[in-house]
């Protein structure tokens, strides 16, 4: 949570800097200035300024206070950009069978989705999917990697980083 907040502040500072004191190197192109921060309502905006994922304990799907804080920010962000539809993908570490983990990943995606819906996001804007243990974000085989792989990742439809 601390990390996410620092990320958000850093991004805001950068945007402000661009708006007020453009660097000489960017003066030749307006587009270059725009790339120095994610476009509001974009996938990068979600990832960098809001937080696109929440984490779970082993074989669990209950939302921690940190996860709820991330989802609160996601709900606020989704309220701000009502045209955005998202995919909620549930994932697992590989400490279980593929079939069990498909069900567990679904349960995690569903828990995150239900939380967003309770916060006022329309269910029609959220599609849920489970990848089980097939799409690890951390590639090691150790407890630190497993902790990162037990997650639910929110992505803007069409920008799913895990889709294949």
């Amino acid at each position: 949570m601390k990390f996410r907040l620092i990320g958000a502040f850093a991004a805001v500072a950068l945007l402000a800097a661009c708006a007020t004191t453009p660097k000489p190197t960017t003066t030749t192109s307006g587009a270059a200035a725009a790339t120095s921060g994610p476009a509001p309502g974009s996938e990068q905006d979600l990832v960098r300024n809001v937080g696109d994922r929440v984490f779970f304990a082993f074989d669990k799907s209950n939302l921690t206070s940190e996860a709820r804080a991330t989802l609160d920010r996601q709900a606020t962000w989704l309220e701000k950009y009502p045209q955005v539809k998202v995919l909620m993908a549930g994932n697992c570490d590989d400490r279980g069978t593929e079939e069990y983990n498909l069900a567990l990943g679904w349960r995690r995606a569903n828990a995150a989705r239900d939380y967003l819906v309770a916060k006022g996001v329309s269910p029609s804007r959220i599609q849920t999917i489970s990848y089980g243990k097939t799409r690890p974000v951390a590639l090691g085989d150790n407890p630190q990697a497993w902790a990162q792989n037990r997650n639910a990742i929110t992505s803007i439809q069409g920008f799913n980083p895990q889709a294949k």
Partner: protein, 460 residues
């Protein structure tokens, strides 16, 4: 005398051609019958990795009659020998030890020449090419000690099917000498895995049981998982992520046509056919859990067998179709259960230490294979259908996806080797087969990393 002739399209039609008086039908093998020669009273050898004495068998290169038949003869004998040795129950003898030259074996072998090298059984044969593109293979199986012929059969087929003739002969030898049906003329479907771990491409693939003739069944555009053979028909059920809507599909292996199975709101996964192939049982994700649902293929009628309050998945029928074993966390952690085929009287059967997954009922009906996680390791095990008599056959960092060969003697599964660093280097997944007694564990060669194996019924 009738001959076994196969149509041009494959080895699916035809009738057996016995080169001697028809054999009396074999009695149904007792469950878990050990190989002959193992001796002893016990029906099941339950010492892990206990090596039983394999049957010494001599397989001289078949006689050849011109054309490419010499090459084919060598190839076919190679297939037979490899099948028999890889199952662990036979020991093909070194051809260098043979006393009687293969070419001089006439109507009857010189028995003494085969007894002296310790052969219990002898296989002889002849390969000819009666017409372009066709091959005729004649083989005889001899019981050396009582000096008698056990079997004589001739097969005629298109030349490109020559490996299958070898597998069919190996199946006949297996059945005649061990008293139970073989499993060599079969295929294995699996999920081929290629690419970096974070973006692996998972495609269905199929190959002969011995690893030959591999081919892909899906394009890789969408992730595919969970291939399962349909008994009798040339069809698979599997799970596809097409359009980001993970659902169970049917795949016709002849035409390659894929069709969505049923009309479900949620993700469907973990499909498996009923013993006669008329129904598919699967999991449907709903809310925070998943329900076990049976779909009757004629009419696509879906019936729920469990609720979805908890995870209910990995369903598998008993071979008589009266019961279903499945995986559920309804009691707080993943465990194994058995219920009636109508969903009645679910009963937990796993009470050992650890977390239990993926129960698969043996085709013999007497055992349930499973995956158990205990601390940091995963194990492949078998237990009686009431949960007693648990034995762990193989343990590793990760094992998953057990599947029985058609006679229930061998289990194939996937084994994961962990990464050695945070970048995922060294991580790999391969197929492994093991005898239900826990011996003869061996790597199954696949062209790529592989997981999720399924073993086809006998093709002939």
């Amino acid at each position: 005398m009738q001959e076994l002739v196969f149509g041009r399209r494959g080895l699916l039609a035809g009738s057996a051609a016995l080169l001697m008086a028809p054999q009396v039908g074999l009695a149904k093998p007792a469950p878990a019958a050990p190989a002959s020669g193992s001796g002893g009273q016990s029906a099941v050898i339950d010492v892990n990795r206990a090596q039983i004495a394999p049957i010494p068998i001599a397989i001289p290169v078949f006689a050849a009659a011109g054309g490419k038949s010499g090459e084919l003869a060598k190839g076919i004998v190679g297939v037979i020998s490899n099948d028999l040795s890889s199952c662990g129950l036979f020991r093909p003898l070194d051809p260098a030890s043979f006393v009687q030259a293969a070419a001089s074996i006439g109507a009857v072998p010189k028995w003494q020449d085969w007894k002296v090298i310790g052969a219990r059984a002898l296989v002889t044969g002849k390969v000819e090419q009666p017409a372009a593109g066709n091959v005729r293979v004649e083989f005889r199986l001899w019981d050396v000690l009582p000096e008698k012929q056990l079997q004589g059969t001739a097969y005629t087929t298109t030349t490109s099917n020559w490996r299958r003739v070898g597998h069919m002969i190996a199946d006949v030898i297996y059945e005649r000498l061990l008293g139970e049906t073989g499993y060599f003329d079969t295929r294995i479907a699996f999920v081929s895995e290629v690419g970096p771990r974070a973006a692996r491409i998972r495609r269905l693939a199929i190959m002969d049981q011995d690893g030959y003739n591999p081919r892909f069944l899906t394009s890789g555009r969408w992730m595919a998982l969970d291939p399962r053979f349909r008994p009798i028909k040339n069809e698979l059920a599997f799970m596809s992520y097409a359009q980001n809507q993970p659902r169970v599909y049917l795949l016709d292996l002849g035409s390659g046509r894929e069709s969505l199975l049923g009309a479900f709101q949620g993700m469907t996964f973990a499909p498996r056919f009923s013993p006669h192939g008329s129904k598919v049982i699967l999991s449907e994700a709903h809310g925070s859990g998943s329900a076990i649902v049976v779909v009757t293929l004629a009419g696509m009628r879906a019936t729920r067998l469990t609720d979805s309050e908890a995870i209910n998945t990995s369903p598998c029928y008993s071979p008589d179709g009266t019961h279903i074993t499945f995986n559920s966390d309804r009691d707080g952690s993943p465990q194994l259960y058995v219920m009636g085929a109508d969903g009645s009287s679910p009963k937990r059967i796993s009470y050992g230490q650890g977390r239990y997954f993926s129960p698969v009922w043996s085709p013999r009906g007497d055992l349930i294979a499973f995956i158990r996680q205990n601390g940091g390791t995963f194990g492949l095990g078998v237990m009686n259908t009431d949960g007693t008599g648990q034995r762990i056959l193989s343990e590793a960092f990760g094992v998953d996806g057990p599947a029985f060969c058609p006679n229930g003697r061998v289990i194939i599964f996937s084994r994961t080797t962990p990464a050695v660093n945070a970048a995922g280097a060294g991580h790999s997944t391969h197929l492994v087969s093991i005898d239900i007694t826990g011996f003869n564990e061996r790597m199954v060669q696949t062209p790529t990393d592989a997981s999720d194996p399924a073993w086809s019924p006998l093709l002939s």
